[in-house]
């Protein structure tokens, strides 16, 4: 599988999710749990940034969650 087709698949998955999502979800009055702090996608922004930076420095991958890591001449 070449990289172009992998990227194509990724975009197709995103598009499928976006179109198939209209039947999912909750009503506004059912958001009690989703509104909890521990249910946010990033509960601890500093820890997320620190981890992104550590792994950016030690591994050949970065980002994913956001732009992530970077900005250093890490050894």
């Amino acid at each position: 599988m070449n990289k172009g087709s992998i990227a194509g698949c990724g975009i197709a998955i995103l598009a499928a999710l976006a179109s198939g999502c209209s039947s999912m979800g909750v009503e506004p009055w059912e958001r009690d749990i989703l509104a909890r702090e521990e249910m946010q996608l990033t509960t601890d922004p500093i820890e997320a940034a620190i981890d992104d930076h550590i792994y950016f420095s030690k591994e050949a991958s970065s980002g994913g969650r956001g732009f992530g890591g970077g900005g250093c001449g890490c050894n």
Binding site: M24, E27, P28, I33, R36, L41, A60, R65, G71
Partner: protein
Amino acid sequence: MKDTKQTSVSATLAAATCSLLGSVPAAPVQAQEEPKWDFNTALLYYGEDNDRVQDLSLNILGKRYFVDDRSLTLGLTVDTLTGATPNGAIRQGVPQTFTRPSGNSAYTIPANELPLDDTFKDTRVALSAGWEQPLGRLWKTSVGFSGSFEYDYTHLGLNGGLSRDFNNRNTTVSAGLAIGRDEWDPVGGTPIPFSPMLDVGDTGNKTGTETKDVVDAVLGVTQVISRNLLVQVNYSFSNSSGYLTDPYKVLSLVDGTTGDTITRVPAPGAEGPSHEFRFERRPDDRTKHSIYTQAKYYMGGKVLDASYRYMTDDWDIDSHTLDLRLRWPVGERSYLEPHLRFYTQSEADFYTISLVDGVQLPTFASADYRLGNFDAITAGLKYGWKTRGGSEMSVRAELYQQRGSIPGNLLIGNQVGRETYPDLDAIIVQFSYRFGW
């Protein structure tokens, strides 16, 4: 005219209503709370075994809220880095001497030990600023700046994002773009790729600063699946172009039969390398694609946070990352959070452990262990609690371990059995304090 008239009519009506109710018109009540700062702070210690990299890091992230859901975020990170790092050369049965990157002195590694450059010492200051605000009822936008400053490295970047809610706010589609320009100004100059490491004081193979440009784009969908399940999927694209080589990494130049590094004699009266070492050379362009998916699942008070990332790039590196956290409430105001992370990557197509003397050099080569074939695991535990005043504190301790292997076809002669991937063990200890101001 019409507006003025309407205003005066509504003012008259309001006055009439007030007099009917027997009250005087009051000043409008502030619909939202006063602007307020939310501070996230953390003190981090990251330490690798065998006197390799140690980092003590102070992090502050302040977010100020304004009316209409607008917010300003300011970040500051100060890292103090010390320790040694593998310089890329292979082990030898005899001591090896290397010229330091500064070109001012040399260091010697004992026989059979992994060559580590212990010159590594730096302070890094990173700054960030971001502004976020809604655009109408369903759109949200953000702009930001990032800067990172080290003695030998500078990064400047701009980013922007846009998101829109759909389906009763159950679906959010977001897009982000970041551009960055980084500049290397290595201690002692930038070595010419593949040039030999020279004697102390000889800067004949060094040039000035080098730059690279980075463009990142992220496209994502966040979907509420049910009352207790939230899922996000992101596609990320990243392109770096310019100087992507590590100016401090070298490769050993070895004999094609024995695999031993070619010996070298410094100029008379000079101090210098005992063997032949060549500075590495990487391609000047790299494009990465990744798919990242994350789920948050609430299970009767406990929250599972699971994410998976697949990354591939045109250096032939593929990686998989699985990250699992389980937030487990303990009593009214505290929680425990075990964390497990699994990572695996394949090596870059130009990764090698040595260059062979007497044959044509490859176009690109690097022996940087981070471009090699390895697996990594992180295991940790976090304990967090809320104070009576509403502040939050947490401590976490984690172990990070890298275990790699060198592909058999890269080993020559005596390197078999002697050369191993420079495995890594590190600890991460962090204390965090979050408070309002």
